[in-house]
Structure formats: C-alpha cells, structure tokens
C-alpha cells in the first residue's frame, strides 16, 4: 500500500484480556516504530525495530507488552492482561531506515484501544 496501515482501527476489550495490534509498514521501509498516545498528549515511544530485531524496546512500560516483526515487514504489538490504563491510541510508524542523519517517520492511522 501507499502508506502505513494499522488494524483494527478500534479495539474494545475487557480488563485482563489479551490483545494484538497489527501494523503494516510502507513497502521497503526497514525501520518500524510503535508509539502510544494518550488523550491530549504527544506520542510516547514504545519500541523500534530495524529489520526483524528490536533495536530498542526501552519504551515498553512493563512485561505485559511485547512486539514482534518476524519477517521484517508486518509487526504485531501484543498486550497481555490488559489494564484500564492501557487505553490509548497506539501508533505505528515506519521509515526507510533507522540510524541515519535524516530519517522521516511516516505514521499510520492508529488503533484506538479501550479497556473496560
């Protein structure tokens, strides 16, 4: 596709449940990023992939959060035992590559997660 896509666009779940959020980056982009955006705030970095490996997962809030990118393209963010505080918009971005001086990130439309 022309841009970054994310599915689902909305996800409502109950506290304690498991959820998976999917990101399909721009074709050819080797770098992929997950961010979380709470209402009225800027995005908060979660994790960065370069190819298949997580180059930096320092933003993941705790061990309930995990992300994979097994073939270096599509990525899945997984949240176990969801809590109400996990409710936010989860944004995915991709860039042509990671560690270069100029690295513009292109964002998907986000997945709005609501934990009841």
């Amino acid at each position: 596709g022309a841009g970054v896509s994310q599915t689902p666009s909305n996800k409502v779940t109950e506290k304690g449940k498991y959820v998976e959020l999917r990101c399909d980056p721009i074709s050819g982009h080797t770098a992929l990023y997950w961010y979380r955006q709470s209402l009225g705030q800027g995005p908060e970095f979660l994790i960065y992939f370069q190819g298949t490996g997580a180059a930096d997962d320092s933003g993941l809030p705790n061990d309930r959060f995990f992300a994979v990118r097994p073939e270096g393209s599509v990525s899945t963010l997984k949240i176990q035992r969801t809590e109400r505080g996990d409710s936010a918009v989860y944004l995915c971005a991709s860039s042509l590559t990671g560690a270069v001086a100029y690295n513009e990130q292109f964002f998907g439309p986000g997945t709005r997660l609501t934990v009841l």
């Binding site: 770098a31 990023y33 800027g42 995005p43 970095f45 990671g98 690295n103 964002f107």
Partner: protein, 110 residues
C-alpha cells in the same frame, strides 16, 4: 533526560491573524520535526529541520530552527480555518527515537 516543551498548549485565533508556536528542548540536537494532527486522525509530517538556521516554508506555515537557543518556531501567517489542528514538534534522539512535545491545539475562527 531529553525534554521537549511547546507553548502555548492551546491557541484560539481569528482568521487573517499571525501567530507563532514555540518549541524548546533540553539538549543538543539538529533534527527537529513538526507534525500536524487532525482530530481522530494520525500524524502528518510538515517539516524536517536539520541544521542551525534552517527555515522551511509551506503555504502559510513557516518553521525555523535555532540550535544554539534550542528553539524551533512554527509561524502561521494570515491564518485560515483549514489550519485548525494540533501541531506537535518532535526531537530526534539517538538517530531514531522521536521525543515529542505535548502539542499545541490551534483553533482558527472564521
């Protein structure tokens, strides 16, 4: 810890007026981004500023970067209603991670 502060956080203005949004940051960097976000939508890249003194303009928006002052500005000239949105600045740290300001919600009244 790298911090990015925007002000104002909220701005209501009349069409035709000029205004400036400020973005201050706490550590040296020469890669600063401005993004626009419409309600319920994702982030649209507006400008990438790469070096001290960089100035970029697109339509009624102009962004500048002063790395010595650790300050970027987004200037709006003769505002129109279509520019109503939330504007974010973000600083690129360690070559990949973006550190974001809280955003400036801009409302332009006809």
């Amino acid at each position: 810890e790298l911090k990015v502060e925007q002000n104002p956080l909220f701005l209501s203005m009349q069409e035709g007026k000029n205004y400036t949004i400020y973005c201050n940051y706490s550590t040296t960097s020469d890669r600063l981004y401005w993004y626009r976000q419409d309600p319920g939508k994702s982030l649209e890249s507006l400008f990438v500023l790469l070096s001290n003194g960089a100035v970029k303009q697109e339509g009624r928006l102009m962004a500048s970067l002063d790395t010595k002052a650790r300050l970027s500005t987004l200037h709006i000239t003769a505002a129109v209603h279509d520019l109503s949105a939330t504007y974010f600045c973000a600083l690129q740290d360690s070559n990949y991670q973006l550190i974001w300001g809280a955003g400036t919600k801009l409302i332009i009244k006809p």
